[in-house]
Assembly symmetry: C2
Homo-oligomer: 189 residues x 2
Amino acid sequence: MGRTSDAKERLIQSGMALIHAGGYAQAGVQEICLHAGVRKGSFYHFFASKSALALAVVERFRLFSEQFLDQALANDLPPLDRLTRLFHMTALLQQQSQTENGFVKGCPFGNLALEMSGHDESLRHALMEVFANLQLRLQQVLHEAAVTQAENKAEALVNLFEGSILLAKTHNDPQIIHRMGAIARKLAR
Amino acid sequence: MGRTSDAKERLIQSGMALIHAGGYAQAGVQEICLHAGVRKGSFYHFFASKSALALAVVERFRLFSEQFLDQALANDLPPLDRLTRLFHMTALLQQQSQTENGFVKGCPFGNLALEMSGHDESLRHALMEVFANLQLRLQQVLHEAAVTQAENKAEALVNLFEGSILLAKTHNDPQIIHRMGAIARKLAR
DNA sequence: TTTTTAGTTGACCGTTCGGTCAGGAGAATA
DNA sequence: TATTCTCCTGACCGAACGGTCAACTAAAAA
């Protein structure tokens, strides 16, 4: 079946890094190729368009976020403590990106949602699923905590979560996310 | 002192409309000029660069948001009811943009924050001030409601507010913002 | 009325954008 | 080894990008 290559994988990795750091519009195909060590002609062998890469990038971030949520919401703690841990772990993650790159990169999904959901329907739908899934997982935690109006509260927690990351990026201060850990706990009860 | 013109004003208005609807990168200088009925040469007579226009656009949105907050947080209601009204009025505003344009435009500040704060420091600082001011005004309301930890809660309300608009835009559903009105009330107590 | 000065115009700049394609290279299969 | 199919390459495309400029126009100020 012809020769093999990891160029596609490298393109996805570079896409994740550059799109997360600078946004979709800022990350040019040429720049992504340069970062990946791949010629632009090869790019279009693996992806039909730049937005097709973005879709693959979102899918990879989704896989990472699933693992991240598995850790954060693991049942080695009481339900409400897991919520707090999600915020604290996220704050830590953003703090690391701040130390490495000088600025808080923010949520890859939230970033793309505000930049692209106005003019890329397929990407918008992919992001809707990501947020809906997050809400479902939080709802399960709230259910374990035996609270009322679990669905409504889970929706609020998603909003608070994404909002705190938005403001952490704007202020370049990951501690904002950390502080919301306690609020999330209060909101859940 | 030479002839007069409202071209600068028209450019700002067009910039507000197009940047809010499609984002900074999507709104080209040429497109903004076409929308405003101004030749591109004139654009650079009034603005040193595209990002200079963005700064003026943010300033205008800031003025509008001040008036909006004056209405939403007016003391013709008990403090906590004003918070709810802010969310309800915002939901209505986004619903109108949805009816007119087919999609929820989102918060002009939040949109620009996630798209631009990574590579335009002056714009980022302008947006920081907007959010800080919103937090201050909410803190005043909470103070009137005689609640504890007003600063911490005001910060949480800003996060919840921006987050709900982010998800309303992603899901193209302004009702999400409306539902957060009750949550905000609960969060404040 | 003359001078001054702000506003207007449209051609033009170099660069970068996403995207295309014909042809060559090389590894897996037969 | 011969064939087949995937991957690689680099030149090339038209369009759009933000931005520049000198000449021109017209209204306000002198």
